[in-house]
């Protein structure tokens, strides 16, 4: 893994929406927008309707994924989104 990057997986039941490395992730958490950077403390949060923004590590592209709800779990430098 690239230094200063975190693993990100975005899944819904039908398909895998994203699987790769990112430098940071912005997500619509229940208490407001949250930013996850590499080596963040372990956290689990409920998502509200909004957009997840993934800043890719391999390029400058930002990937936006619209969500209606779900859960985000971050531990061991890996963020997993389970969408509804």
């Amino acid at each position: 893994m690239k230094v200063g990057a975190l693993d990100v997986k975005v899944l819904n039941l039908k398909e895998k929406l994203f699987d790769g490395e990112a430098t940071k992730v912005l997500l619509p958490a229940i208490d407001g927008e949250m930013c996850i950077l590499p080596h963040h403390v372990s956290i689990m949060t409920v998502l509200v309707p909004g957009t997840i923004k993934i800043f890719r590590a391999v390029s400058d592209r930002i990937i936006s994924i619209k969500v209606t709800g779900g859960i985000c779990s971050f531990s061991d430098n890996s963020a997993v989104f389970i969408l509804q």
Binding site: L11, L13, K14, V41, S42, I43, G70, S73, S75
Partner: protein, 290 residues
């Protein structure tokens, strides 16, 4: 001994049956490949959701929600069984029917009532007259509609949660055929409520936003929908794989029959020709002798 016309008809029938079975094998193969990809993706989702639940479970050592732990006293058990809507898939439905009958008898023998939720017409038709007391039935119609499978799974999950909360269902099980490969499928029972979670030895401290309880409240129904959807996909994959295998052996059988009947037909035809020739020659000889 069959005459030539009968044999010709038989060969014609076998040829058209062979065409049908060969086409069905191809169609089942294409459908299987499509659903195989979905199965592997939904498996990953189910694994991740289970891992999150394992992490959450540690937070609830004393007050575990009922949807996770189930009820202490069990009187009614709901069995969600996945079979198929269509036949011509070998012993796929028969094996499930046999397994369910055994499971239901097992549950009944310890005094619990059983409510069977049948997904797939075949099983419903096969089982509805098999049990008498203490077993109720329900068929979920048109569940396997390819465009609405996900929506149907979510609707069934909502119904399952409702029947646990409002009615007297205390324990919920899923019976479906797990798809391992094109040659290996195994019928398995999965416990939905109470949920079976592996013990967690991870000591990492996790922050929960807003609270672990609220995350769990959202995750549990989502997990039930995921388990139902995954079981449905595995069942479809197993059905298509069994259909492919059985249609393949049907095609091979048709080939063998076609070979046998063609040889028989040719022999009979040759006999007839020889006989006619003998008649013509002996007739000609009789004329010459005169």
């Amino acid at each position: 001994m069959a005459n030539l016309k009968e044999l010709r008809n038989k060969i014609g029938v076998i040829k058209s049956t062979r065409k049908v079975t060969a086409a069905m094998k191809l169609v089942a193969g294409v459908k299987l490949r499509k659903v195989e990809r979905k199965v592997s993706e939904s498996r990953e989702y189910a694994i991740v959701i289970n891992r999150i639940l394992t992490r959450l479970r540690r937070e609830f050592l004393e007050t575990v929600p009922e949807l996770l732990s189930g009820r202490e006293h069990v009187a009614n058990v709901m069995l969600i069984v996945f079979s198929s809507d269509r036949g011509l898939c070998g012993n796929f439905n028969y094996l499930i029917q046999k397994f369910v009958t055994k499971t239901v008898h097992g549950i009944r023998s310890i005094g619990h009532r059983v409510h069977l939720v049948c997904i797939g017409k075949r099983l419903f038709d096969g089982l509805k007259n098999s049990f008498s007391m203490g077993v109720s039935f329900e068929l979920v119609p048109d569940f396997y509609n390819a465009d609405r499978l996900y929506e149907n799974s979510v609707a069934l999950a909502e119904k399952v949660v409702r029947s646990f909360r409002d009615w007297n269902v205390d324990k919920i099980l899923i019976v479906s055929t797990k798809y391992y490969s094109a040659v290996k499928q195994v019928i398995e029972t999965k416990q939905l409520i109470p949920l079976e979670i592996e013990p967690n030895h991870d000591e990492t401290i996790t922050i929960f936003e807003p609270t672990a309880n609220e995350i769990l409240q959202q995750l549990l129904p989502q997990n039930i929908a995921a388990q139902i959807y995954q079981s449905a996909l595995e069942s479809i994959a197993s059905e298509q794989s069994t259909r492919m295998t059985s249609m393949d052996s049907a095609t091979r059988n048709a080939d063998e029959m076609l070979y046998d009947f063609t040889i028989k037909y040719n022999r009979l035809r040759q006999n007839k020709i020889t006989q006619e020739l003998v008649e013509v020659i002996s007739g000609a000889e009789a004329i010459v002798e005169r």
